[in-house]
């Protein structure tokens, strides 16, 4: 079985600064992967490339079944092909209700004319209700998202990602600003999600990565420095040198 996502020799520069340098790696269809690395290692740029926000100067990004290059696709097309992204700061539509936020994310035709004709059926309402229950927001469906607490907004965004039902989930620092209990809840959810799809977690927090208990890719200066279990990479002298040694 071929990989779900394959990044092949990707490079990108911003004003002469090489953010990503000949980066190659692959992720399987049902896999949880943590991507770690010091600031400026290219973690966010990697996500920008996969989601279509940034175009690389060289290399290719192959995704899905049948495998397709993501480089010729727009952000919206990539999202529809099954790549979901969770931002570090919770980005929900604060002006609208929790229900409207989830309904917008729910899998349904996305072109303007189809959306214009769309009227939610009881099946759609049930799906939204189930999602809201899953992320603990069922009592808040009619509330405006802007009124939610920081943690609730994080959960709403996760709910919206679940509604999209992506094949690949890119999660940027999910533990940031979460309490210990919320972190445990998040870890459980991510691990469960990774049984049916690929989940890539970009994280700073080593303790959180340890909880995820998964394969780890260490990025440094835009390329892969080491890959393996957390114990394996933390024992790597190069990794200690560039990243862990500083702490």
């Amino acid at each position: 079985m071929s990989a779900l996502l394959e990044v092949r020799g990707v490079s990108v520069s911003f004003d002469g600064f090489r953010a990503i340098n000949n980066l190659s790696f692959a992720i399987d269809r049902a896999e949880l992967r943590a991507v770690i690395g010091p600031n400026g290692a290219g973690k966010t740029t990697f996500m920008d490339i996969v989601t279509g926000k940034t175009r690389p100067d060289a290399g290719d990004v192959i995704f899905g079944d049948p495998p397709r290059s993501l480089l010729r696709m727009t952000e919206a097309q990539i999202a529809r092909a099954g790549v979901g992204r969770k931002f570090q700061r919770p980005t929900v539509f604060e002006d609208q209700s929790v229900f409207a936020n989830l309904m917008m994310a729910l899998n349904a035709p996305r072109n303007p004319f189809a959306v214009l004709r769309f009227r939610p059926t009881s099946r759609h309402r049930d799906q939204v209700q189930d999602l809201a229950e899953e992320v603990g927001l069922a009592p808040h469906l009619t509330r405006v998202a802007g009124e939610l607490s920081h943690g609730q907004k994080q959960w709403l965004e996760i709910g919206m990602l679940l509604a999209q039902d992506p094949l690949l989930l890119l999660v940027d620092e999910p533990a940031a600003g979460m309490t210990l209990a919320e972190r445990e809840h998040t870890t459980t959810l991510l691990r469960r999600l990774a049984t049916t799809r690929a989940v890539v977690v970009v994280e700073h927090d080593m303790e959180f990565v340890r909880r995820l208990d998964c394969r780890v890719t260490v990025l440094h200066e835009g390329s892969v420095l080491a890959e393996g279990s957390l114990d394996h990479v933390t024992a790597d002298p190069q990794v200690i040198d560039v990243y862990l040694g500083r702490g």
């Binding site: 727009t74 952000e75 309904m103 917008m104 303007p112």
Partner: protein, 370 residues
């Protein structure tokens, strides 16, 4: 249907009936009926502006260009048909009945004499036919908006840059039409539009017809806008307004949504214009100058963005006040050393009102109802 839509439609029906009764009883003049009818058209343009700016976040400073284009398109038929009747009348005294070519030459001389020619420009090819010219009311502004929007949105021009681009578009169009060889009579514009060809009814009757038509168009436009923003589509365009990149990551083709809204609102504005200018009686390129579109944005801001009834309130209140102040009916205020003449000072008052609304009631007059 939302409560506010029902209330709005009921109020519109009531005031239309009231105006009809008062006009029939001679309580209000024909010119005031026309002013009210024109106000309804401006309200419809404001609904379009609210849809594109208040909901989708595209601050277009060119929607009055579509409004005026709609007016030009209907004006061409009005002027052609009326001139044709005059020419036929004038030639009827001759022993031989006039040929089609003679009538054409007569019309050309009558309409284009002011710009020193009697040749009929090709853009007048359909002016003899009301159905074709009505089609152009929708097609010309719609196509212009679609092409302009497609170019602008696919290059991801947003925010203030897009506003400047729309302003440049309307200015360029106005400057072009000011030229005598533009085919639309240069700065003379089209006139005599208040005379409906083939209708012998007096002005006080036709004024009411156009007033009813305007009320009907406003009701229809409002219902359409309410339907568009009421469902998931409204949700998506408001989301685009607040964070369009995030909407892309949800898989929505943002550019397609913007183009749809931009084009739809251009067509609504054009229909409003096509009803406005027969009541105004005259249209010239000055109507397309960017200031007109800026006023439209000010009305919507004062009335309340993101609320359809807010846009209507803003357009109605401000444009009626404006015609009262600038119509010479507002009493001047003598201060001894200086006299406040409202024709000049109205603009200052409007500017002040705009600043105050922005500072004290950012949601506009419409926002006070919640």
């Amino acid at each position: 249907m939302r409560r506010s839509t029902l209330i709005f439609l009921a109020l519109l029906a009531l005031s239309t009936a009231a105006v009809t009764v008062m006009a029939g009883g001679g309580l209000i003049s024909t010119s005031f009926v026309k002013t009210l009818g024109m106000t309804l058209c401006l309200c419809l343009a404001a609904v379009a502006m609210d849809l594109v700016w208040g909901y989708a976040g595209i601050l277009s400073l060119g929607h009055m260009a579509f409004f005026a284009l709609g007016g030009y398109m209907i004006g061409m038929w009005l002027m052609w048909a009326r001139t044709e009747a005059i020419v036929v009348q004038a030639l009827s005294g001759q022993p031989l009945p006039p040929t089609a070519e003679e009538i054409r030459q007569g019309i050309g001389g009558q309409i284009f004499g002011v710009v020193g020619t009697s040749d009929i420009p090709w853009i007048w090819s359909f002016a003899h036919s009301l159905p074709l010219q009505l089609l152009l009311v929708v097609l010309v502004p719609g196509l212009l908006a679609a092409v302009f929007g497609w170019l602008a949105f696919r290059s991801r021009v947003t925010g203030v840059y897009l506003s400047i681009l729309t302003q440049a578009m309307t200015l360029a169009l106005a400057l072009y039409l000011f030229q005598n060889d533009s085919g639309l009579r240069g700065n003379n514009g089209l006139s005599g539009l208040q005379n409906l060809p083939g209708v012998s009814a007096p002005q006080e009757v036709t004024a009411l017809w156009l007033f009813w038509a305007s009320a009907l168009a406003l009701a229809g436009g409002y219902l359409l806008a309410a339907w568009v923003v009421g469902g998931k589509f409204g949700s998506v365009i408001r989301a685009i307004r607040d964070d369009e990149q995030r909407v892309r990551f949800l898989g929505y083709p943002v550019e397609g949504f913007k183009l749809f809204v931009f084009t739809l609102t251009a067509v609504i504005a054009a229909i409003a214009g096509a009803l406005y200018y027969p009541q105004a009686g005259i249209i010239n390129p000055a109507e397309m100058m960017p200031i007109a579109s800026i006023y439209l944005a000010v009305w919507v801001a004062i009335g309340g963005r993101g609320r359809l009834y807010g846009a209507v309130i803003g357009a109605a209140v401000v444009s009626l006040l404006s015609s009262w102040f600038t119509g010479g009916r507002a009493p001047s205020i003598p201060l001894g050393f200086y006299t406040i003449d409202w024709v000049d000072w109205w603009q200052v008052l409007l500017g002040l009102a705009f600043v105050l609304v922005t500072l004290l009631a950012p949601k506009g007059i419409g926002g006070l109802f919640r």
